[in-house]
C-alpha cells in the first residue's frame, strides 16, 4: 500500500528520462497500462472466439472430424473428433475467457484506465504503481488459465459457473488439476481487479480537475466509477468462494460436499451473489461509453442526464438483490424465488429509462454515422433484445421451461456480444486516435460493423428458437435426443454463420494493425467532442495536461446556442458565462 501510494507527480513533457522499459513495459502511465490491457484482452477475445468455433463445429456436425482437429492431442480430439470431456472444457473456458479475460478487462482494464484520468483532468491515477501491479498480476493469471488446457485430466469442465459438487469432486468429473488452475487463476485475477478498482474510485473522488463537479462528469466516467464500486465489492466474494472450493479440492474441507453436511446450493448462492453484479460490471461501462458516443454522433446533449446517472446507480444497487434468479430451479426455497423474481423484474425500469433516453438523444439530433456511432446504435438495438429476453427468464413459471436451454444462451449473447462487445468496438474506434495518434479506416470499420451485425444476428437469434424447442445448453451432442433432432439443420445453420461471423472480424484485425502504422494522423479532436481528453494532442502525452484544466460546462454541450460550432469543450470558457443548464447540473 504505502509503497505504491508514494508516486512521483508525472511531468507533462512527453520525453522525460525514462528508459524504454519504464515507458512501455513496467510503466506507471495509465494510458500505456490501458493499452497493455487492450492487447491482452483482444488476444483472449480471439482465444474465446476460437474455442467457440470448435464448440460450434461439434454442435453443427456432431461426431464428425473437425477440420484441423487432427492437430489436437489424443486427450482432446482423437483423430479430429472432439471428446465429450473436451467439449465441456471448451464451454467452460469459452465462458471464462470471454467474461473474465476479454470483456471485463476490455471495459474495466482498458477504458477505465485510459479514460478516467484524461476525462477528469488528472495527470494520472491516484496510485500509478498499484495500477502497474494490477496489469502485471493479470498476466500470470491469464497464463495460468491457458496452462490449464495442458495438464493431466484436461481443463475445468464444470461450466463457467463451476457448480459444486461436480467442480469439487475430481473422482466424479475426471478433472483435478484443471479445476485447481481455474480457481487459482480467478483468485489471482481478482486481486488485480481489486487493485484496479481501488485506483479508479480514489481517482474519481479525489482527483477531479477544478470545476469538474459530480454532475459535470461524462456518463462514461459515472458508469466506470459505479462499476469500480461493484468490482471492489463483488470480486472479493468470488475470491472467497473460489478459496472455499479450492480447499474442498485440496485440503478435504466440506463446504459444498453434502456427504459431510456441506451445502451444494451454498456455492450457487455465493457464486451468484458475485455473479449477477458481475454481469452488470460487464454492461454498465458499455452503457456509459455508448451514451457519450451517441451524444457526440447526434451532436445533441444526452437526453435526461440526471436520470441516466440515477439509472446507473439504481441498476448497480438492484444488481445486488437479484442473484437468486439464476437459481429458480435449483431447489432454492420457492418463496425466495418469488422475491427474487420481483426484484429482477424491477431492474427493467432503470434499463428502460436508459434505453428511452438514448432514443431521446437521437430525437431531433443531427446524426453523423461514423463507425463508433454505428456500433453504438448497434448496441442499443441489440441490448434491447437481450434485455427483453431477460423478462422471460425473470418470470419464474416460464423460467421452469427455458432455464438451462439455449434461450438463456441467446439472452446472454445478446447482452454480452450485442451489448458489451458492440459498445467495446464503438469505444475502440472512438478513442483509438487518442490512444495511438492515428485514425482507424472508416471504410474498413463500416464493413466490419455491417458484416458483424448481420452474421451476429444470424448466429444468435435462432438460438431463441432452439431454446423454445427445449434444446438444453452444455450438451455435447443434441442428436442424442429425438425431440432435438429436428433442430439439427438450425444448429448447422448457426455453425456456418459463425464461420462468417469470425471471418467478419478480419477487417477489424487488419484495420487495427494497419492503422497503427499507416492510419491517417489524428488531430487533437477528430470527433469534435467536448471531453477534456480531446484538448490534448493525439496520442495523449505522458502526464496528460500541461497544466491542470478548469471545467466550465457539462460534457454534452453540443449545438449550444452560446457558440457557433456545434460543440463546446468542457474547458472552454465562454462569456456570457453559461446559464446553469438543467442537465449540465452545476
Amino acid at each position: 500500500m504505502t509503497t505504491a501510494a508514494v508516486a512521483e507527480r508525472p511531468t507533462a513533457a512527453g520525453h522525460d528520462g525514462r528508459s524504454f522499459i519504464q515507458r512501455y513495459i513496467f510503466t506507471t502511465d495509465h494510458k500505456i497500462i490501458g493499452i497493455q490491457f487492450l492487447f491482452m484482452s483482444l488476444l483472449f477475445l480471439i482465444v474465446g472466439g476460437l474455442l467457440a468455433l470448435m464448440m460450434r463445429w461439434q454442435l453443427g456436425y456432431p461426431g464428425q472430424p473437425m477440420p484441423g482437429g487432427g492437430m489436437l492431442p489424443e486427450t482432446m480430439a482423437p483423430d479430429g473428433i472432439l471428446l465429450p470431456e473436451f467439449y465441456n472444457s471448451l464451454v467452460t473456458m469459452h465462458g471464462t475467457f470471454m467474461v473474465f479475460f476479454a470483456i471485463m478487462p476490455l471495459l474495466v482494464g482498458v477504458f477505465a484506465n485510459f479514460l478516467i484520468p484524461l476525462k477528469i483532468g488528472a495527470p494520472d491515477m491516484a496510485f500509478p504503481r498499484l495500477n502497474m501491479a494490477s496489469f502485471w498480476i493479470a498476466v500470470p493469471a491469464g497464463l495460468l488459465m491457458v496452462a490449464g488446457f495442458f495438464v493431466e485430466g484436461g481443463h475445468a469442465g464444470a461450466g463457467w459457473t463451476a457448480y459444486a459438487p461436480l467442480s469439487a469432486r475430481p473422482d466424479l468429473s475426471g478433472v483435478s488439476l484443471g479445476q485447481i488452475f481455474w480457481l487459482l487463476s480467478l483468485a489471482i485475477l481478482g486481486l488485480s481487479s481489486i487493485l484496479g478498482s481501488m485506483n479508479y474510485i480514489t481517482t474519481v473522488v479525489n482527483m477531479r480537475a477544478p470545476g469538474m463537479t459530480w454532475f459535470r462528469l461524462p456518463l462514461s466516467i459515472w458508469s466506470l466509477f459505479i462499476t469500480a464500486i461493484l468490482v471492489l465489492l463483488a470480486i472479493p466474494v468470488l475470491s472467497g468462494a473460489a478459496i472455499m472450493l479450492l480447499f474442498d479440492q485440496t485440503l478435504g474441507t466440506h463446504f459444498f460436499n453434502p456427504v459431510e453436511g456441506g451445502q451444494p446450493l451454498l456455492w450457487q448462492h455465493v457464486f451468484w451473489f458475485f455473479g449477477h453484479p458481475e454481469v452488470y460490471i460487464l454492461i454498465l461501462p458499455a452503457m456509459g461509453m455508448v451514451s457519450d458516443i451517441i451524444s457526440n454522433g447526434s451532436r445533441k446533449p444526452v437526453f435526461g442526464y440526471h436520470s441516466m446517472v440515477f439509472a446507473i446507480i439504481a441498476i448497480a444497487f438492484l444488481g445486488w438483490i437479484v442473484w437468486g434468479h439464476h437459481m429458480f430451479q435449483s431447489g432454492m426455497n420457492p418463496m425466495l424465488g418469488t422475491t427474487f423474481m420481483i426484484s429482477t423484474l424491477v431492474i427493467a425500469v432503470p434499463s428502460a429509462i436508459k434505453t428511452f433516453n438514448w432514443l431521446g438523444t437521437l430525437w431531433r439530433g443531427s446524426i453523423h454515422f461514423h463507425t463508433p456511432m454505428l456500433n453504438a446504435i448497434g448496441f442499443v438495438a441489440m441490448f434491447v433484445i437481450g434485455g427483453l429476453s431477460g423478462i422471460y427468464m425473470a418470470t419464474t413459471p416460464v423460467d421452469i421451461f427455458i432455464h438451462d436451454t439455449y434461450f438463456i444462451v441467446a439472452h446472454l449473447h445478446y447482452v454480452l456480444f450485442g451489448g458489451s462487445l458492440f459498445a467495446i468496438f464503438a469505444a475502440i474506434y472512438f478513442w483509438y486516435p487518442k490512444m495511438f495518434g492515428r485514425m482507424m479506416s472508416e471504410r474498413l470499420g463500416k464493413v466490419h460493423f455491417v458484416l458483424t451485425f448481420i452474421f451476429y444476428n444470424l448466429v444468435f437469434f435462432p438460438m431463441h428458437f432452439l431454446g423454445m424447442g427445449g434444446h438444453m445448453r452444455r450438451i455435447y451432442d443434441p442428436t442424442e435426443y429425438e425431440f432435438l433432432q429436428p433442430f439439427q439443420p438450425m444448429n448447422r445453420f448457426i455453425t456456418v454463420s459463425v464461420f462468417f461471423l469470425v471471418a467478419a472480424q478480419v477487417p477489424f484485425v487488419v484495420n487495427f494493425f494497419w492503422s497503427l502504422f499507416k492510419g491517417a494522423p489524428a488531430s487533437e479532436n477528430p470527433w469534435k467532442d467536448n471531453g477534456l481528453e480531446w484538448t490534448v494532442s493525439s496520442p495523449a502525452p505522458h502526464g496528460n495536461f500541461a497544466e491542470t484544466p478548469t471545467v466550465y460546462h457539462g460534457p454534452y454541450e453540443f449545438s449550444s446556442p452560446l457558440v457557433d460550432d456545434d460543440y463546446l469543450p468542457q474547458s472552454r470558457a465562454v462569456d456570457p458565462q453559461p446559464r446553469p443548464a438543467p442537465a449540465a447540473g452545476d
Partner: protein
C-alpha cells in the same frame, strides 16, 4: 416445426400462455424501440445547414416511460407469482397423487415405484432404470434426489424442470394429460456423459398402469 414442444401436462398450457403473453408485451416494447430508433436515424440524419435541437430532457416524457414499464413488470410479476406457487410451492401439492421417488446419478435416472400397496418404503417397492411409467390424468408426486452431483429433471412435454441436489429431497409434481411416450432429459451439466443422460416417460391409461404395476411386482418380473 412448432415453436414450443407439444404440451402434455395440466400446467403446460398455463406456462405456454405466460410465454406468449410476455412475447406480446416485450414484442410491443421491441417494436416501439426499434421502430423509433430507425425512424430517428432516417428522419434526423445530418443534413447540411440543419443544427441539432439543444434539448436536455423532458420530465413528462421521462415520467411516462418510467411508469409504463414499471406497471407492466409489476403486472407480469403478480401473474406469475400465482402460477409459480401453484407449480412449485411446497404447501400446495395435489392430494391422492401417485407417489414415486427418483434418484439421479451419473448418468441414469433410477425411478422407484411404490408397488401394489401404493406405499413407498415398503418391501414391494421396485426400481426401474431410465423408465418413468405414470398414469394419465392423475397427479404424480416425485421425491427427487441425487446421489453424486447436480442433475436436472426435465420433461419438455410437461414443461417441468427441477434440479436434483445431493443431500436434498425436492418434491416435484405434474399431471400428464396425454398418453404416449415422452423424453426425460438431464438439464444440468453433470459430467462427461451429461448429454446422454436421458430417460423415457410412458403415460398409460389408468387400467394399463395398474396392469403394468402388477406385472412388474410379480416375482418373475424385473430386468
Amino acid at each position: 416445426m412448432g415453436w414450443l414442444p407439444e404440451s402434455a401436462s395440466t400446467y403446460a398450457s398455463d406456462i405456454d400462455l405466460g410465454f406468449w403473453v410476455i412475447t406480446v408485451i416485450v414484442g410491443i416494447a421491441f417494436v416501439v424501440v426499434e421502430a423509433a430508433l430507425v425512424l430517428f436515424l432516417v428522419r434526423y440524419r445530418a443534413r447540411p445547414g440543419r443544427r441539432a435541437a439543444y434539448i436536455h430532457g423532458n420530465t413528462t416524457a421521462e415520467v411516462i416511460w418510467t411508469a409504463v414499464p414499471a406497471i407492466t413488470v409489476v403486472a407480469i410479476g403478480v401473474w406469475s407469482a400465482g402460477l409459480w406457487s401453484e407449480i412449485k410451492g411446497r404447501d400446495n401439492f395435489p392430494a391422492d397423487a401417485v407417489h414415486l421417488a427418483i434418484e439421479a446419478k451419473q448418468f441414469e435416472w433410477n425411478v422407484t415405484y411404490p408397488g401394489p400397496d401404493g406405499q413407498l418404503g415398503t418391501e414391494d417397492d421396485f426400481t426401474r432404470r431410465n423408465a418413468l411409467e405414470i398414469p394419465v390424468n392423475r397427479p404424480v408426486v416425485v421425491d427427487l434426489t441425487a446421489e453424486d452431483v447436480l442433475h436436472s429433471f426435465f420433461v419438455p412435454a410437461f414443461r417441468i424442470k427441477q434440479d436434483a441436489v445431493p443431500g436434498m429431497t425436492i418434491p416435484v409434481w405434474f399431471e400428464a394429460t396425454k398418453t404416449g411416450e415422452f423424453e426425460l432429459a438431464c438439464a444440468e451439466l453433470c459430467g462427461n456423459s451429461h448429454y446422454s443422460m436421458k430417460g423415457r416417460v410412458r403415460v398409460h391409461t389408468a387400467e394399463d398402469y395398474e396392469e403394468w404395476v402388477r406385472s412388474q411386482s410379480s416375482p418373475e418380473a424385473g430386468q
